[in-house]
Amino acid sequence: MAVINLEAPFKERVANALGDSHLAPAVVRATDRMLQARHKAMNSIDGEGLRTQTRQMKEDVLRHLPDYLEQLERNFQANGIVVHWARDGVEAGEIVRGIGLQNGAKTVVKSKSMATEEIHLNHVLEQAGLKVVETDLGEYIIQLAGEPPSHIVAPVIHKRLEEIAEIFHEKLDMPRTMDPTEITSAARVRLRNEFFGAQMGVSGCNFAIAETGTICIVTNEGNGRMVSSMPKVYVVVMGIEKVVPTVEDALLQLQALTRSSTGQQMTVYCSMTSGPRQPDQPDGPEQVHVVLMDNGRLQMLERGYGEALLCVRCGACLNVCPVYQEIGGHAYGSTYNGPIGAVISPALAPEIARFKELPHATTLCGACRDVCPVKIDLPRLLVDLRSDLVEAKTNPRVEQLAIQGYVKAMSSREMYERGGKFASVASNLLAGLTGGEIKWMPPPLNGWTDHRDFPPFAKKSFREWWEERQKLRNRE
């Protein structure tokens, strides 16, 4: 089994991913399946209308975000939900840990959440002596394996059944089985114990409704309902951009999310919590806490990447991305991967240079923008980030010199034509050594010839042909 090391340099992580012959086929199979389902789900309705309206709604939210957040807070409090605010991941982690310790929690059950991945909440709680159990089947598997998720909605997309069977055998002392039903049953039994025993449930939030003070979480397995219903204390960590104005807006976003993500018309469960249980209700938490977390989102807005705050975390851009399909999620080395991860990882980080490789790890093909349920112009944001990286002087000096040299050469006809002649002679010499195609070029261009040939420049350029033809015609 490949060891996942997120701290390794980017190039090494990519090389590891490309070297794993099982990875790309597994990722391609899973992402293609989701994409086909998405295609069907969006084309059976006015998919374009759904995208347009969801974007319109989310743009309005962002424009009036402070007002909606205040309304949400008021309604949360009116419903008996305790509201906390956190500037960053450290503050958010401390708040959640504090709630756990105050309530004497020993076991925490979690429903899959990117916001808590972002702040490494499991680690924070474990440091405080709490047992943390991920309850989404995929997330449970990678927790057992000691890995981070590799996809926003399908965390274990990179693992084959054999590997999963091995993990269950090794970690849970279960007889080796390749039967998915048996593996699922084993997980059900074990996690059922945790749901009934845990004192605290933690989840993220897909969206929260301002007008009612309602937290909505979306799952297919039912763990979201369990986490928000069974333990006495329920804690929600949500990014400040997750608010929507009305119940209708919530349903709109829900449908955009599920249709884009897994191609479902509706998710199996959408659990909408508007507070702790009423005194006469038989079940539900006795305390509900919400942590409204910034953790770089404001900075993202200030840096000009506010459009990425429209993201509903559906994962469609990952599924369609040919780069993601080749290298999977772990190679990105960030909580968020794929095209959206390549934008928000640097944009959320205190220094964009922390993830300086990611905006370059894309061909700008634009397939991501075409499937995004809120039409985020990801290629544009990626080139903007590349520009910011140049301004922050994070690129290799040799690259900058090369670009400046090329621009200089292209800035005058004379230099351009002379450069072309030189390239023609040099490349034909190189090609001559290997019989027609250039098979080797010096660094940094060896990146090209490591994988493919390069043709020699033409012996006679188009402009030479044109000039000769003009002369010929003038003579006539």
């Binding site: 990519v14 040919p322 080749e326 370059h360 090329y406 072309g420 040939d453 390069f454």
Partner: protein, 296 residues
């Protein structure tokens, strides 16, 4: 970018051949010229043109890209503004995207509004070659002939930024003798991506090999496309992987310069319109030149 609709058909156009076609694939420029001229269009080639600046822009070097963008606007701007040409045509989807979409980004700054407006005016009359042939001139058949199996790879910028897809397919479908086959996963990016091909060579290579596998599966002898940069990458992969398929620019097929070639012909390019060689003639000639036996 909203494109102009012409009340009277354009008669004179400026050819923006693009630096790569100029230096690497003169045959593409020649084919584009001849295709246009055969439609009665007078082609003008401003000798001052170089590169649109796309590599610098895509890599994030906006100051550097602006230098070349200004140059482009200086070269092509006056011709359009004074009416000496009615359109700019380029045989490259990505270069047209650069000049007609991304110059708008480069000159976003409030101080740059005059240039931005000039770029917008130029953008409204700048066309990719097949887009110009089909949408502006109403051509759907260039009377070309190609005996062989051909498929089409939609290059990303052309497909997703310019929305040009039907036009080249329509023209290809009209090619006499050509059997057009579908390319599996055609809309997947080939993995070129400009500097990406060098910076992330491993990923680019893997994507390219996936495209090459699909080309092999399609059974096509040639894959046509509207961009020489993706073509260079795809051909480089096909050649390295020894897959029996070649990437060609669509202009070369449409103009009947069949079979195209990675290298321009050794002999002088034709100075006047000649009857194009046939596809099987070209391959036979190539085989003869390499001293290979047929029917192997």
């Amino acid at each position: 970018m909203q494109k102009s609709s012409f009340s009277t058909p354009p008669r004179r156009v400026a050819l923006f051949v693009t630096c790569m076609a100029d230096m690497l694939y003169p045959g593409v420029g020649i084919a584009a010229t001849e295709l246009l001229e055969r439609q009665g269009i007078e082609v003008v080639f401003p000798m001052e043109q170089t590169c649109c600046g796309q590599p610098a822009f895509n890599a994030g070097y906006r100051d550097e890209a602006r230098v070349l963008a200004r140059r482009f606007l200086q070269v092509f701007g006056p011709m359009v503004e004074n009416g000496s040409v009615q359109a700019i045509v380029a045989p490259s989807g990505s270069c047209v995207t650069m000049t007609s979409h991304f110059y708008d980004v480069l000159f976003e700054d409030s101080k740059e509004q005059p240039l931005r407006q000039l770029a917008q005016r130029l953008a409204s009359v700048t066309f990719e070659l097949t887009e110009f042939l089909v949408d502006v001139l109403g051509v759907t058949d260039t009377h070309a002939r190609l005996e062989g199996t051909v498929t089409y790879h939609p290059c990303c910028h052309l497909l997703r930024e310019l929305g040009v897809d039907e036009q080249p397919r329509k023209l290809l479908a009209a090619v006499d003798g050509a059997q057009v086959v579908e390319l599996p996963d055609a809309v997947d990016c080939c993995g070129f991506g400009g500097l990406f091909a060098v910076k992330n060579a491993g990923i680019s290579g893997a994507m390219g090999r996936r495209k090459a596998d699909n080309l092999a599966r399609s059974g096509a002898d040639v894959v046509a496309m509207c961009d020489v940069s993706c073509m260079t990458h795809i051909n480089g992969i096909l050649s390295r992987e020894k897959i029996d398929c070649r990437a060609v620019h669509i202009a070369e097929i449409l103009n009947g310069q069949l079979g195209s070639r990675l290298h321009p012909p050794e002999e002088e390019p034709p100075m006047t319109l000649e009857r194009p060689r046939r596809w099987q003639d070209a391959t036979a000639a190539d085989a003869a030149a390499k001293g290979e036996k047929g029917g192997d």
